[in-house]
């Protein structure tokens, strides 16, 4: 089958599934007698979407959350990659740090978030850190696994070629660890959105988490739905970006496999 036909089929199925879902949602809300403040109809959510798009508030709050997510992701990634490198390379460092890292993962982020607001203030920094904290662990684990999956024979080869330390990192370790690392990034990218929203839930006056709180406070459930769907789109967009990066950066793997 030609690729464009395959793509067209995929898009067709996506549209069918979306329309089917909307019809089911409409039928459920129309015939179940559930009030709008509990479960709004699709048309009500659509109307609310148009309102917040027209007054610019949805774009504003989305950009705020996006900024927190991107900065949180950047911070979480950098810290996880650096820590992961040292943990992968040194058993001693791993033994010393692992208990702390594993223990830190058992602390719910919602319990930490209020403390971050107290320590760092109610501004953007506490949201960035919440996002970074939630991104950190999956990326860290995948960085370690990725680096440890490099076969010893390839290190021997690099040594025989008298490769420098930098060359070993850029020519061997990064390309070899990249597939596993990007797997961690896929998870991290979507988690970053959750982290930022948790931060906004605790204390914020802007962002999509704040918009959800406003919707709940005003019994405007349609607004809550608009904010939640925007968050889903944001997470899907980030996930898609990582998949695109994967396809782009790992194209050599496919070529070798052919």
């Amino acid at each position: 089958m030609k690729p464009w036909v395959d793509n067209l089929r995929k898009i067709g199925f996506l549209i069918l599934s979306t329309v089917g879902g909307l019809i089911l949602w409409h039928l459920f809300t129309a015939y179940s007698n559930i009030p709008s403040f509990i479960f709004p109809k699709p048309v009500e959510v659509w109307a609310r979407l148009i309102t917040v798009l027209a007054d610019g508030s949805l774009i504003y709050h989305t950009l705020v959350t996006l900024q927190e997510v991107i900065l949180g992701l950047a911070l979480g990634l950098t810290t996880a990659i650096v820590t992961g490198y040292f943990l992968a390379k040194s058993r001693l460092v791993e033994r010393v740090l692992s208990p702390y890292i594993v223990a830190s993962q058992s602390i719910p982020i919602v319990a930490i978030a209020p403390l971050l607001v107290i320590w760092l203030g109610p501004g953007i920094l506490s949201k960035i850190l919440t996002s970074a904290l939630i991104v950190f662990f999956p990326v860290l684990v995948n960085t370690i696994v990725g680096l440890r999956s490099v076969p010893n024979e390839l290190y021997d080869l690099m040594r025989s070629l008298q490769a420098s330390h930098l060359q070993r990192i850029t020519k061997l370790e990064i390309p070899a660890a990249l597939p596993v690392f990007l797997g961690g990034l896929r998870i991290g990218a979507t988690l970053a959105v959750i982290g930022a929203v948790v931060g906004e839930f605790v204390g914020a006056d802007k962002g999509l988490g704040f918009l959800v709180n406003v919707g709940r406070g005003l019994y405007d459930t349609a607004l809550v739905f608009v904010a939640v769907f925007t968050l889903v789109l944001l997470a899907l967009g980030l996930y898609g970006t990582v998949v695109y990066l994967e396809n782009h950066l790992l194209s050599w793997q496919k070529r070798n496999g052919e």
């Binding site: 009030p35 403040f37 607001v117 107290i118 109610p122 914020a204 704040f210 709940r216 005003l218 019994y219």
Partner: protein, 328 residues
């Protein structure tokens, strides 16, 4: 095989004995009592002492009721009552006009607090002597929603201040820590809670009560139009038991406090002096005249503030939003 049979027989015997003796660890509610799930809007706290006392002293049981305390979000309680999933909830006053404007058929039937419980608080060096003194200061509040925000905006309106005249910081429910750490110069909180906690830590404070400047409808008990129409007797019994409970707590604060230990986990380890003060401050709030009565002017004022804030887009018929019929 023999061992397995033995084990099964023992288990069956244990189950049989358990079912006969009711060894299930649960407390049995007499069948005639109607269990009322009551969202309280906050965590277990001594400020709810009248309800705890009412349960222990039998005021609710006398009316054929048993309260199942629910500490979920206030807005969830309002939505559930609005959808007639539950019959009652304890909410702050501003929620009623906001919810009714969105089509939730809730009705306020009893004033739990006689005055709006929100205050702005600052360390005394900030010289917060009047609402006008908030100008130019950073104000920490849980968020731009709920009773704290409404109370602050009411004070700002009184002082002729707009949001651009001060810096609002959404700090979550961390007002005590934020003021102690000087992250905000002024905080907004409940008069029975944050000022008491801060004073106990040795801070010298200035406290401005919203109710000293504007009469706003305060926390109260809500039901819905369906319950009012189909089961007014249930409403009457619930209000009657609550009023007796409030009166008991006001007249017997020490006994009411003792009843809290059963319901507020960790109370025995908390600072007893602070907790007693929280109850004392709350007792002052309960005392409406007469108990449970909400003033029509307070409703008018509240609607005006909410319209001014943009939290309501149009006026509502306030006579449908509340009734003093059951509390008189």
């Amino acid at each position: 095989m023999k061992g397995t049979k033995k084990l099964i027989l023992i288990l069956l015997a244990v189950m049989l004995v358990s079912s006969c003796t009711g060894v299930d660890g649960g407390e049995q509610t007499p069948e005639e009592l109607i269990v009322i799930r009551l969202p309280m809007g906050y965590i277990p706290n001594v400020q709810y002492a009248p309800f705890y006392a009412g349960m222990e002293e039998g005021f609710f049981a006398d009316e054929g009721l048993a309260i199942e305390f629910d500490y979920s979000y206030e807005t969830d309680g309002v939505a559930l009552v609005g959808a007639n999933e539950i019959q009652f909830s304890l909410v702050s006053g501003e929620q009623v006009p906001i919810a009714r404007a969105e089509g939730l058929p809730i009705v306020y039937v009893l004033a739990w607090y006689g005055q709006y419980p929100v205050a702005v608080i600052a360390k005394s060096e900030q010289n917060l002597n009047s609402p006008q003194d908030m100008a130019g200061k950073s104000i920490g509040l849980p968020g731009l929603f709920g009773a704290n925000y409404v109370g602050l905006r009411a004070l700002m309106g009184y002082a002729g201040l707009e949001e651009k005249d001060l810096t609002l910081e959404s700090v979550g429910f961390n007002q005590v820590e934020v003021l102690a750490a000087d992250t905000a110069e002024v905080i907004v909180g409940y008069v029975a809670n944050e000022p008491v906690q801060l004073a106990a830590q040795g801070y010298d404070l200035d406290v401005l009560l919203v109710s000293d400047y504007l009469d706003l409808v305060s926390n109260g008990l809500i039901t819905n139009e369906t319950t009012l129409a189909e089961n007014p007797d249930l409403v009457r019994r619930m209000v009657s038991a609550t009023l007796k409970s409030i009166q008991f707590a006001v007249e017997n604060p020490e006994q009411a406090y003792q009843h809290c230990f059963k319901y507020v986990e960790g109370l025995e380890d908390a600072n007893q002096e602070v907790q007693t003060q929280v109850l004392e401050s709350s007792l002052a709030l309960y005392q409406t005249d007469p108990y449970g009565y909400s003033k029509p002017q307070a409703w008018e004022n509240m609607m005006e503030v909410l319209l001014d804030m943009g939290l309501m887009k149009a006026e509502i018929n306030l006579t449908e939003a509340y009734t003093n019929e059951f509390s008189q």
